[in-house]
């Protein structure tokens, strides 16, 4: 337990220590001898069947078309642009939104903070300040076409987790080279397991009342994606 951080209450009580031993002892005796002949769990793990699709088969164009189709099925609005007219496209989206105050991660490309709007760059914005933003613009780590999913690793250009949560309107900039066809291909792109991830598939939604899908319970109600056609 010596590695715990020094915040109040960060050390488990003595009862927990006794239970830890009890539980682990019970678990070990319960699973004793169930290694299927593998000496090490790592060997058994390596032998697991992974015959599912791990690599997509679509052409680059079809992959992007699928990404767009799946995003639109979630009611996300998607537009495409070239790298050269990205800034103009951002400006057009912001203008069309009718909103004025936008939050941005501190590491967002400063060219994207198009003039004419009230930008709140996230240099330790308070929750109340983020809450006051009408929208937010960020980059992302990856797009998964198969499920229309946008993946954030919360790098400086993607922002803290709360930034893409409180504003009601979210514009995500996705580059074509970031789009993979299948979920396993996203995992292949993670050279190291990330510390923070948010997988976003469409706007916040619920179907808790009579299975009627309602957009926007707590997260953003409006998801916009600009797909930048960079080199694939």
């Amino acid at each position: 337990m010596s590695a715990t951080v020094s915040t109040p209450g960060s050390t488990p009580g003595p009862a927990s220590g006794q239970s830890r031993k009890r539980i682990l002892d019970r678990v070990r005796s319960a699973t004793h001898g169930s290694g299927h002949g593998f000496a090490e769990p790592a060997d058994a793990y390596a032998a697991l069947p992974r015959t599912y699709v791990r690599r997509g088969t679509l052409t680059a164009e079809a992959r992007l078309a699928l990404m767009i189709e799946r995003l639109r099925e979630y009611d996300a609005e998607v537009i495409e642009c070239t790298p050269a007219n990205l800034v103009a496209s951002i400006a057009a989206q912001l203008t069309a939104s009718g909103k004025h105050t936008f939050a941005a991660p501190e590491g967002l490309n400063s060219d994207w903070l198009v003039p004419g709007f009230d930008w709140k760059a996230d240099h330790r914005l308070t929750t109340a300040e983020i809450e006051q933003a009408e929208g937010v613009v960020t980059a992302c780590f990856c797009g998964v076409a198969d499920s229309g999913t946008i993946v954030l690793h919360h790098s400086p250009a993607e922002g803290r987790r709360v930034l893409t949560l409180l504003p009601d309107w979210y514009l995500c900039i996705l580059r074509a080279s970031q789009v993979v066809e299948t979920l396993p291909e996203y995992f292949d792109r993670c050279t190291q397991p990330p510390v923070l991830v948010t997988w976003i598939s469409g706007p916040s939604a619920t179907a808790d009342i009579e299975m009627t899908r309602i957009k926007g319970v707590h997260g953003p109600r409006f998801l916009h994606v600009i797909l930048v056609r960079d080199e694939i």
Binding site: A3, S16, A30, S204, D208, H218
Partner: protein, 491 residues
């Protein structure tokens, strides 16, 4: 607007404590007599089922994904001790604190102690069935902590003084006019309409200030990742993200079986979970975090690892597969029994086929013994299970255990079911006994056979059959008698 038209006869408050809940056949009766509730349940699961079926058909590698998901979960369980320790080490190194709770009481107390250290008089919650399993909310309320559920369905139940009837869509037995009534009454919104958009907006407004002001949150875990010490939560509404980013302190309660060996295993789990659970290619939000991240989200993070009977399930080879469950609820959506009874009849927070095997095992087979029999063994649950839990096989195993418990009890001596089974077995051991019984039965049945050649009413256990079905009279000649006579003629 009057909602008298939709009012139902008062239902008894559902008892989801397996220690006190009535047996399944009895608990099912008031529900079977409630057409509104049955309609609500059937409608909801028909919608999910149809969506799921469409998405599974579209996924060409569905069976391969199921095989991988099943194998990953099984491997995690077979090496659970090592993976739990690895999770603990990684999570701790990342700034989290790991607590271990052997049973429900210890988990409740651990969480309360943590809340006291935080001076928390209020707490916001992400939907977690594990907290319902340990009956956390009533415990915290009794200790003076106000608990605010933040999942829309959980709000409906909490404000309506109701209990969950499904593990993914806990309020699926409640329809929009009932939700309107609850929200209007409890939120003081007299003019609220029953449009789901309006009802959802009301919940959003009701909770917004709670999210922004309450600094302590409790949630569950869909997955714990041993390799990294990370926790993953799968959700739709964003209430989970709120609880995972705004508060100062996050407490995660997780069953010890929730561990996955590696981060990459999520490439399988996230593909099967949403498709099985809500019939979506992917749920709107999945969050994964690792301990504490400076400047982002709660700066104090606790995980309470709960055993509460799980290690004893783990020790039984046939039943161990129960713990592979990823709580997608596909089994209850596919179950023809659940479709009629909804979840409350199961007397547990875990209803449906998975509940029928999980609940009695969590109770160490001392309670909820009627649940393994609450199935027609149709096999639909196994067919849809994304981690291939052979639920019928476990049901049969548990039935055998219940019978072994009961068969020597004095009270079973004259129980018609036990008596009948014993006699039937004696008859089936020798053909002559069986044939004699057929002849005697034919004579006996005449007493009950009406002029139309059918039996309309039988005594004792037979009355359970004839309460809704007739039975054709026994033929004057069995098949083997016919066969013998035919052979005789041929000679």
């Amino acid at each position: 607007m009057s909602h008298l038209a939709t009012a139902q006869p008062a239902m008894p408050h559902p008892d989801l404590d397996p220690l006190s809940a009535p047996p399944f056949p009895k608990a099912a009766l008031p529900i079977l007599r409630n057409p509104q509730l049955r309609h609500n349940v059937a409608h909801a699961i028909d919608v999910i089922q149809a969506k799921r079926a469409k998405l599974v058909t579209e996924k060409a590698d569905w069976q391969e994904l199921r095989s991988a998901a099943s194998a990953i979960r099984a491997q995690a369980l077979e090496n659970l001790g090592a993976y739990l320790e690895e999770f603990e080490t990684r999570c701790t190194a990342a700034g989290g604190t790991v607590h271990w709770a052997a049973d429900a009481a210890e988990a409740r107390q651990t969480i309360l102690d943590l809340l006291r250290q935080e001076n928390a008089s209020e707490v916001i919650k992400i939907k977690t069935m594990t907290s319902a399993e340990i009956q956390l909310n009533p415990f915290l309320e009794a200790a003076g902590v106000s608990v605010f559920e933040t999942d829309l369905a959980e709000i409906i139940l909490q404000l309506g003084d109701d209990e969950p009837s499904h593990i993914v869509v806990p309020a699926l037995h409640v329809n929009r006019s009932q939700v309107r009534e609850i929200f209007a009454r409890r939120m003081g919104l007299k003019d609220l309409s029953d449009d789901p958009h309006a009802l959802t907006a009301a919940a959003r407004t009701y909770l917004r200030q709670k999210f922004l002001n309450i600094p302590t949150a409790i949630g569950g875990a869909n997955f714990l990742v041993a390799e990294t010490g990370s926790v993953a939560v799968v959700e739709s509404e964003g209430n989970g993200r709120m609880c995972l980013t705004l508060p100062r302190t996050m407490i995660t309660l997780a069953g010890i079986e929730k561990v996955l060996p590696r981060f990459q295993d999520l490439e399988v789990m996230l593909q099967v979970l949403a498709r099985s659970a809500t019939g979506e290619r992917m749920n709107p939000y999945t969050s994964l975090w690792t301990g504490v991240t400076p400047g982002d989200g709660p700066q104090r993070f606790h995980v309470v690892l709960l055993d509460n009977g799980r290690s004893s399930i783990l020790s039984r080879t046939k039943e161990r597969q129960t713990l592979k469950c990823i709580r997608c609820a596909a089994c209850m959506n596919a179950c023809p029994v659940y479709r009629q009874t909804g979840g409350h009849a199961y007397g547990s927070v875990y209803p449906g086929p998975i509940g029928a095997i999980l609940t009695p095992q969590l109770m160490q087979m001392h309670h909820a013994q009627s649940l393994p029999f609450a199935s027609s063994l149709c096999g639909a649950c196994y067919e849809v299970c994304p981690v291939k839990i052979n639920i019928p096989e476990v049901l049969l195993e548990l039935r055998a255990q219940v019978v072994n418990q009961e068969r020597h009890q004095f009270a079973r001596l004259l129980d018609p079911m036990y008596l009948g089974m014993k006699i039937a077995n004696l008859l089936f051991q020798k053909a002559w006994r069986f044939h004699l019984a057929q002849r005697l039965g034919r004579i006996g049945a005449r007493l009950f056979t009406q002029r139309d050649g059918w039996i309309h009413s039988l005594p004792s256990i037979g009355a359970k059959w004839t309460q809704t079905r007739d039975l054709r009279a026994l033929s004057s000649q069995t098949f083997h008698e016919w066969w013998a006579a035919r052979k005789g003629e041929a000679k």
